[in-house]
Symmetry: C2
Subunit: 299 residues, 2 copies
């Protein structure tokens, strides 16, 4: 188990370099981006994120026997969507956060207007990036559908609305899970599926990877709830204790820290179990390790 | 000329019914949209917009010999992107408008958080809608690229940043045109191109329609500057005189109302001239009439 975690960590670092280089390669082509908007986009896009979604996207492509290169535009698109969601979630009208990854949040650094626009631009560029993929058009069309459905009103954006609606509400495990499924798990699941779709995969493979991605996504968010409740700002790179302060409807609020830790580990095991059809593929060890990292992380 | 305008008006009304029915048909399928988010999306999407972009999309499809049905998902996507841009532009951190189409703006009715999310959701749904199109995958992939590039950092979002940057700056015709090209013309041009692409068209046809769409888009925004300077709130359905109040860098600020009126008409004629290759197609009369309507409107 320790070996797979180390392998996943190396894969994550490698994927981060690959994706950051590709993101930088794509942005300079846009000489026409107004300076302030561009600076706001880069501030958040290159803020030292873990790049977990890109790594999941690339590893899923390899797990179905495809090439990482085929999934690279998808990996970039996923990171753009994730980054936009953080920028908008941090806005004063939403969670009102000043600190993210140890740096001032986008609206603190560039003002609210530029932050809203930087988010809008990154979301839009995500689809431009997918559409510029050299992959077969049928796969690209399907990947656009997967990403848009996971990120939109019935997925991530809907989850953020539920998260806001849930403030001050009685926390139950069911309610917390309903929020987590959309707010976090939908996009992590999409990361896996977009990689699998772009690399070419069967419906059976996509089903198994979808189960893996959803369980991993839930595990990730439950672990996040635990970190918010137990970490320091220094460890976390963002302000801790915000969930309790804002009366968020979290797994920790519903069941306590100890039960949340157990649940995160249980979900990570479920994610690993869903990988059974791929167990002989080398990339499967990476996916297993990533599921562990999602719950064993310090930030 | 009067006949073509009447024909375009009838086409616009017909396109509006068609697109509204299709937008409503698409939304109910999403039973899982949280209530407040859904209400905020519908508030702005069904606020009695002119549906000019959908009409342009459908008419362009017909002008290249395609069927309206093939372009319908594109028409819906264009209206979603347009609506999202209005919601975000109206936010307190941006243009801070309370009134739009004679109704309270989205954030006034539902609060800032839901308005930001409703905009995000509509932008995302636009791409989901395109990706659900039954059209050939190659055409859909190209339509996604056209829409994303027009709407993103080098297009509409970049234009909104330039618009904000321009507040209080010395107005020149060149600077106003640079803003208009991105803020408004890019998406109107995309409306025409998405229709043409989804319906199947040659590069030559797309070039001609692209010139038409860009000239029409500029004409539309110059006419908008004139309306803001000369209309009442009742006529306009939104607060007039905001451009001068906010020291916006507009064509009117650069050249005055009379010169702006002349420029809008000149641009509309340029748009019509670009349609030369299609002059024998019935839909061409509609496109000519829409160019006239873009500058002769009262709101």
């Amino acid at each position: 188990m320790g070996r797979e975690r180390a392998e996943a960590k190396a894969y994550l670092e490698n994927a981060a370099s690959l994706v950051e280089a590709e993101l930088r390669r794509r942005l300079p082509a846009h000489r026409d981006i107004p300076g302030k908007l561009r600076a706001a986009m880069e501030h958040s896009l290159f803020a030292g994120g873990k790049r977990l979604r890109p790594a999941l996207c690339l590893a899923a492509a390899e797990a179905v026997g495809g090439r990482r290169e085929d999934a690279l535009p998808g990996a970039c698109a996923l990171e753009m969507v994730h980054t936009y969601s953080l920028i908008h979630d941090d806005l004063p009208a939403m969670d009102d956060d000043d600190l993210r990854r140890g740096k001032p949040t986008c609206h603190v650094a560039f003002g609210e207007a530029a932050a809203i626009l930087a988010g809008d631009a990154l979301l839009t560029e995500a689809f431009a990036t997918l559409a510029a993929s050299p992959a077969d058009a049928g796969r690209v069309k399907r990947a656009v559908a997967v990403l848009a459905n996971a990120a939109g009103a019935t997925g991530m954006v809907g989850g953020q609305q539920l998260d806001l609606d849930g403030e001050g509400q009685t926390a139950t495990v069911e309610a917390a899970t309903a929020i987590h499924l959309r707010k976090t798990a939908a996009l992590l699941q999409a990361a896996v599926l977009v990689g699998a779709v772009l690399a070419g995969s069967s419906g059976y493979e996509q089903q198994a990877l979808g189960r893996y991605g959803q369980a991993l996504g839930l595990a990730f968010q439950v672990a996040d709830d635990v970190l918010d409740a137990t970490s320091s700002a220094e460890q976390l790179g963002k302000s801790p204790g915000k969930d309790r302060e804002q009366k968020k409807l979290t797994y920790v609020a519903a069941a306590g820290v100890a039960a949340a830790r157990r649940q995160a580990r249980k979900l990570a095991r479920e994610a690993v179990a869903a990988l059974e059809p791929f167990r002989r593929r080398p990339a499967c060890a990476v996916l297993r390790g990533l599921a562990e990292l999602a719950v064993e992380r310090k930030k």
